[in-house]
């Protein structure tokens, strides 16, 4: 895992490894309405990807898919999820998968007697810093004035703990709600940044 090898070798990944029947069993488990079940699927997948990222996994998307595959296969084999919520079951499978990844990583480490993590090297095509900065300034300028001000207020200031407390009082928002609001603006900024860089790349 850590050595850069994709988990596909020993941990099969991707929805392509699933039969249609297994996939349908999975969707049925997520809800009676197929569209809603599809939304649940995407929502769980997004969170699983992030959990694997937070665990330091190199190929989180593939591990999330592998989690679904395993759950789906078990369901197709006739397993009934006893738990009131299927999410816990997904989480349990994801944990087992992560443990497998760790074991695999340990084996690789022993074999290679090398460091735990590959040295970080910028991925190919990473944007030059000035272009990225230009884009982020451009995107800040594209935000509605109140959102731009919120981002700047939130990140500027010497004593940020106090200034954020004041900001939360001024806006009449609990701190966590303020954090989430700022995060949503950041996400919007991130979407704009990606688009801006893409357009800059195309020239």
């Amino acid at each position: 895992m850590s050595g850069g090898r994709r988990p596909g070798a020993s941990l099969r990944s991707g929805r392509s490894g699933l039969s249609q029947e297994a996939f349908e069993s999975l969707l049925a488990q997520l809800g009676p309405d197929r569209d809603r079940a599809g939304e649940h699927y995407e929502s769980i997948r997004r969170r699983l990807v992030r959990l694997f990222e937070w665990r330091g996994c190199e190929f989180p998307e593939e591990l999330a898919d592998e989690t679904f595959n395993r759950v789906a296969r078990r369901l197709a084999e006739g397993l009934t999820i006893q738990s009131q919520d299927p999410y816990s079951f997904f989480c349990g499978v994801a944990h087992l998968l992560h443990k497998e990844v760790l074991r695999e990583r340990a084996r690789e480490r022993e074999a290679q007697e090398s460091g735990d993590w590959p040295p970080y090297s910028p991925p190919e095509g990473e944007e030059p810093e000035d272009r990225r900065l230009g884009c982020i300034r451009f995107c800040l300028g594209q935000l509605p004035a109140d959102q731009r001000q919120l981002i700047l207020d939130y990140h500027q200031g010497e004593d940020r703990i106090r200034s954020r407390q004041r900001l939360s009082l001024t806006l009449g928002l609990p701190l966590n709600a303020l954090r989430i609001r700022v995060h949503r603006v950041r996400r919007q900024l991130g979407d704009c940044l990606a688009l801006c860089l893409e357009q800059a790349r195309r020239g």
Binding site: I44, W54, P60, D130, R132, L140, G157, R162, N176
Partner: protein, 321 residues
């Protein structure tokens, strides 16, 4: 679990400092609870920001950034955090929101009068509709172009590697981003929600300044760590101070007195107040009564039997530009 402990727990989890069992438990909650998950994303962004700015010890940052650097998505977020921190640091500080009147709806200071009559309302609505149609037609004649969206907008010229055609007053560069939105780009791009263009603000009465004060646990001798600041921009600005009460207070009404801290002189008092909604008592002292300085609010509850009891003594400061 309280919101503070959730947030702290998430930070520990992201920093890899939680015991495995607790991390497992938290991950289950993260899968179940969309709000908690979003808070975790926010916590991650804040940790990265703190790492980029050197506000968090490298020993704490290193495991987090190393874990994130392992995946493509994590690398993107790391890079974005760095860029955002640099861009924000390079942006001149504007007057903070806390220094400006809060954008809240205009408060109902007036009692219903002429406007409460249906015939008057209909007449005003018809007049406004006519005005809007007229304004729309004028605007359509003068400005036929549709408002630009991020999806339509191109990055600054410098990012496209081209020289800006007409010589601008300032050379466009990452240090001097263009002040006008770029022209629509030719290639199709994934759609983003349209972003409203900034409109010049018309001159009008200042919006109400709202200050929320926590009453619970405040005593007369408290020295608050974080002063509550009320920014007043003009003497006729509507002021609203919201006193947050404990749930289930046994009082039928409240008395509020605002006094200057320097000499104890009361500048505003009211009695017979009841919380308008939830557990917030809203008071609206006139801005002209509140000069710059520190104030002590004395809040007393009146029991159904008529006895008066001290409830709390929150403080605040008034600051004018």
């Amino acid at each position: 679990m309280s919101e503070t402990s959730d947030y702290l727990e998430l930070r520990l989890y992201l920093l890899g400092q939680q015991p495995e069992e607790e991390a497992d438990r938290l991950e289950r909650r993260l899968l179940l609870d969309e709000d908690l998950f979003e808070l975790a994303e926010a916590a991650e962004a804040e940790l990265l920001d703190e790492c980029v700015r050197g506000e968090l010890a490298p020993a704490l940052c290193e495991p987090l950034t190393r874990r994130l650097a392992a995946s493509p998505g994590g690398r993107v977020r790391l890079t974005r955090a760095r860029s955002l921190a640099v861009a924000v640091a390079a942006t001149p500080a504007a007057p903070a929101m806390t220094d400006r009147p809060a954008p809240v709806p205009v408060l109902p200071f007036r009692r219903p009068g002429l406007l409460s009559r249906p015939a008057v309302r209909v007449a005003i609505a018809a007049g406004l509709a006519g005005l809007i149609v007229f304004a729309w037609q004028v605007e359509r004649t003068l400005q036929p172009r549709a408002p630009q969206t991020i999806a339509q907008a191109a990055p600054p010229d410098v990012l496209r590697g081209t020289t800006p055609a007409p010589a601008p007053a300032l050379p466009i560069s990452p240090q001097n981003p263009p002040s006008t939105p770029p022209q629509p780009a030719a290639p199709a791009a994934p759609a983003l929600p349209p972003v409203r263009a900034e409109k010049p603000r018309s001159r009008r009465a200042p919006a109400a300044a709202v200050l929320v004060l926590q009453v619970a646990m405040t005593t007369r001798g408290d020295e608050e760590e974080s002063p509550n600041v009320l920014h007043i921009v003009s003497p006729d600005q509507p002021i609203e101070i919201q006193l947050t009460l404990e749930e289930g207070e046994p009082y039928s009404s409240y008395e509020v007195s605002i006094g200057r801290e320097e000499d104890g002189q009361a500048v505003w008092t009211r009695s017979g107040l009841t919380p308008a909604s939830g557990s917030r008592l809203k008071i609206r002292p006139p801005a002209r009564d509140l000069a710059d300085g520190s104030y002590l609010v004395t809040l007393k509850g009146v029991t159904p039997e008529g006895a008066s009891e001290a409830v709390g003594y929150p403080r605040f400061q008034v600051v004018r530009p």
